[in-house]
Every structure is written in C-alpha cells, then in structure tokens.
Amino acid sequence: MEPIIQFEHVWFRYQVDEPDPPWVLKDIRLNIDPGEYVSIVGNNGSGKSTLARLANGLLLPTKGRVMISGMETSSEQDIWQIRRTVGMVFQNPENQIVATSVEDDIAFGLENIGVPPLQMEEKIKNAVKAVGLEGFEHHEPHTLSGGQKQRLAIAGVIVLEPDVIIFDESTSMLDPVGRKTILEIMQSLNRRGKTIIHITHSAEEAFMADRMIVMHQGECKLDEATGRLYQEAMRLKEWELDVPLEIELWDRLRQKGWPLPDKIINKEELVSEIWRLLSRT
C-alpha cells in the first residue's frame, strides 16, 4: 500500500531577515498509511504545527520533499488536489467560520470547488449529520457554543471529502463536553476510513490514537504504536510531556514492589490487575 503521506528527509526553516535562521524541522522521515489514526505530541516550539502545515502544502520544505498520495507538495499543478486530499481543522473555531448560517458556512467550500447547487444539498446534509449538528442548519454560527463551532469547522472540512484530516490542537480551546464530542467525531471518522492526524498537548488524548509521534526541538524523537508505547511511557517526561495518569500509578506501584506485569497495554488492564491483587489479600 502506498503511504498517503510521505516526508522524505524534510528540513524546514522560516525565511526571515536573519543570516542563519534556526531549523524548525530537522530531517523528518515519516510515512503515514491510509486509514491510520496518528497523534503528534510535543511542546510549543517542537515543530508539530509546522509539520502539519507542510502536510497540506501550506508550507513547503526547505530541503527534502513531502508527498501526498504520490503528489509532491511543491508541484503547483497538484497543490489544489493535495489540499482537497488533506483537510485541516485548526485550534480556534472562531477563525474558521465565514458565513452567516451553519448551512451556508458548510456550502462555502463546495461553492469554491464548483459543486452544482443540486448536489450540494445531499453533501451538506451528510456533513451536518456526521458532526451531529442536525437542527442547527439555519442557526447563525455566532450563537453556537465553542464545541458546536468546532463541529461546524469540521463539517466544512469533511464536506469536501478529504482522505486525511489533520486536527491541529482542535480540542485545546474547548470545555470538557466540547472536547469529548470532537474526540468522538475523530474516532468515528477514522472508523469510516479517514486518515486522522491529531496534534495535541494532552497525553490522554494522544493515547487514543493507534500510533504516536513525539516531536521535540524539531526532531521526531519517537514513533511507536500506542499499545507498545505504554510500557515506556514514563520516557515522555524526558521531553517535558505529560504521562497518562494510569501509567504514572502503575510505575509508582511497581516501585513500591507491587507484583504488576512489566507491561500493560491500557487503562483497563491496569485496573483489572489492581482488582486481582486486591482481591487476593
């Protein structure tokens, strides 16, 4: 299977009026297959958002190349196809809304790519349904909550039927309820075959993906299936990242001499191990 996203020795730095600007990304090699659910974690300044912008041609590599479904992002004739392949949902829902009603806002992208009005209706209906905004079609976006606005932004992206959707810290400005719905939407889009890339600060959210990439100071430090990553998750602290709570507990109990297995694959497993040990006593 051909990877849907390929980074081949990608280096990137911003062009500024300085003699030798620092590298924001250093020698990134990365393949993402169609249908994967990948999280990218890293602190501010780690290069993770730059990475996302390179993946749909908003930025172009200084060195190396980025390929999307076999098309190179630096190719002017392919760039529009690339942007339709890779959709992006950003951090602040306020900045992504353009029209005066939910329906019009979703239609905006369709109009841009010249979809005939008759076909629009069906597509908009599906997009509205996918994000659970039924009944809000005629509402004015500014009356929506933060979470609903972010769902609208997602609808505006998925209506264009991209294969890949990148969520760039799209949950960080939302309250717990809003965050939960967005995470559920990501999971359901992934189940329906979309490639999902979720850029986040939150360890808890990152571990929902199947694969996790850790960025630190422009370098890819770790690229691992989350199931396997569990046992070495304490390492995340090396890069100033959060460790999921259950892993922290597992580590502490083991240090206290609890006979816990030396690897666990998820929270459920830890909880059942605790049950087992407590019921034996």
């Binding site: 309250d175 507990l249 109990l253 206290k256 001499g257 605790i274 407590l278 034996r280």
Partner: protein, 288 residues
C-alpha cells in the same frame, strides 16, 4: 481581601424576548488570602459571577462585597470594586496592543496618572515579578511565546496592585511547561504577595492541585462548595451535573466498580490514591 456574595442574581436583557437569568440567588464567601476556584460547564454563569465581583456587571438583586466596598443594583457604578479586583480574561494575549512590552504594561499605570521615572521603575518591577527578563522591555509583545504574552498581560493587571486577582481559564491553550510555569507564578503571587487568587476553570485537575476552596456553578446556581475533598466527594452530584471530575477521581471510580469496599471519593491526588491502595494491599511476595 474577603469577598462576600449575598443573594446575587443577574438577568441579561430583562423585559425582552431574550431575557436570560444568568445567576440566581448566589451566596458565597471567599476568604481573604485564599486560592479559590470557580468551576462549572460553559454557560453555567462563571464569567458573569466574576464580572460582578470585579464591578463590571451590575447585580439585578442581591450584592457583592469586596473588603468594605459594596456593589448592588442601586450602586452608581462598580468603580469602587475595580480598584481592588483585577481580572485577567481568557486569552489575555489577544488584548495586547502596544508596540513594546514596557508600554503595554505601563498602559493602566499611565491611566492612573503615574509618570516617569516611577512608571519605568514599576514596569520593570512587574516584569521581574512575573518572570520576564528586563531586556525584553523594548521588544514587541507579539514576538513572544504564548506563555510569555500571557505574562505581559498579567503584569499589566498586577501593576494596578489589586488585592484580588481573578484569572479566567489562565492556562487554556498552553503546553505542559507553560502551564506549570504559570501556576508556579500564581502560587508565588498568592503566597508571597498575599493576593487572594480566584481561578475560573473547567479543568478539575488544576482545581485538585491548587485550590483551597471550590465553588461549582450549574445553570446559574451554586451547586457545590467546600474544600476540594469535600466537593469531589460528592460523586453522585458530579454525575448528575455531567461535569468532569479530576482524572484521579475518575480512576478511583473505575477501580471501585469491582471492589466490595470502595475507595473513598475524597481521594483526588495520585499520592493519596497510591497510599490508599498500599494500605489495602498486604504484600505476599517480598519486594526484590
């Protein structure tokens, strides 16, 4: 400085079809020098409440008392409260506007009639207080990191020497490091400067870590109040309000699903959970 809220109600757009009761009959007391948290879902009335405390929104009935200053429906203005209460709103970095960091911090001071050389001295004192290197003073605030921009905004508020500092979602959008640094600053201000700090948040993990007193709003009413242990213990009520408990409490709930004698819900830190589990676990295999 103590804040006492008595039977406070606020109605938006009264006598119109859009009339909305934002707060109904709130009674609460925030002790002087305390680190309080106001929690609740979006739309629960948190922002309205803090704006009343700062004299920015007028009560429809009831009153807010800050120190000896009282603000009620008939007050001429909330200006008396504003002298004592500083609010740092959500994403305060969006409200920076001056060309340099020093000018931005000086803005409020100038409005209060402070002039050079005192102005410059104060600005540098504030930069030092919030941990911004003095040499940044002539730089544009817009070239700073998110966490640093937020410090500039906080410095501008602290310069006005409030007795009470209210922070609305101060760590939203910051990474782990930025978050930790900001909380360290808040704790410092609270402990060393004796500021009464009020944190508005929906992140219960932060509440669990930092607050002495917690007030939980729901639908414009005070649903719960007390110490974090007292408040988080009310597991049933949290579920009814569909609010998110701290991660540790959620883990406790999960572990309790199959324990005959459940762990107490007053546990909300990892240390307590670890100790409580250790007590139950009689070790059969000697640790190696």
């Amino acid at each position: 400085m103590e804040i006492v809220v008595k039977d406070l109600s606020v109605v938006y757009m009264p006598d119109t079809p859009y009339e909305k009761q934002a707060l109904s009959h709130i009674d609460l007391r925030i002790e002087s020098g305390c680190f309080a948290a106001i929690a609740g879902a979006t739309g629960s009335g948190k922002s309205t409440l803090i704006q009343c405390m700062a004299g920015l929104i007028r009560p429809a009935s009831g009153q807010v008392q800050v120190g000896d200053k009282i603000f009620h429906a008939g007050s001429k203005s909330g200006a008396a409260l504003r002298k004592h209460v500083g609010i740092v709103f959500q994403y305060p970095e969006h409200q920076l506007f001056e060309e340099t960091i020093a000018k931005d911090i000086a803005f409020g001071l100038k409005n209060r009639g402070i002039t050079e050389p005192k102005l410059d001295r104060e600005v540098h004192r504030m930069m030092d207080l919030v941990g911004l290197p003095g040499e940044l003073s002539d730089r544009s605030p817009f070239h700073l990191s998110g966490g640093q921009m937020r410090r500039v905004a906080i410095a501008g508020i602290l310069a006005l020497k409030p007795d009470v500092l209210i922070m609305d979602e101060p760590t939203a959008g910051l990474d782990r490091q930025g978050k930790q640094e900001l909380f360290r600053l808040l704790k410092d201000l609270h402990e060393k400067q004796g500021l009464t700090v009020i944190l508005v948040t929906h992140d219960m993990n932060d509440v669990a870590k930092y607050a002495d007193q917690v007030f939980v709003l729901s639908g414009g009413k005070l649903a719960l109040s007390g110490t974090p242990a007292e408040v988080f213990e009310q597991y049933q009520i949290w579920q009814e309000l569909s609010l998110e408990l701290p991660q540790v409490s959620q883990l406790v709930a999960k572990i309790n699903e199959q324990l005959d004698v459940p762990l107490p819900y007053s546990i909300f830190t990892l240390e307590e959970l670890e100790q409580s589990l250790a007590k139950r676990f009689v070790q059969r295999e000697a640790p190696t």
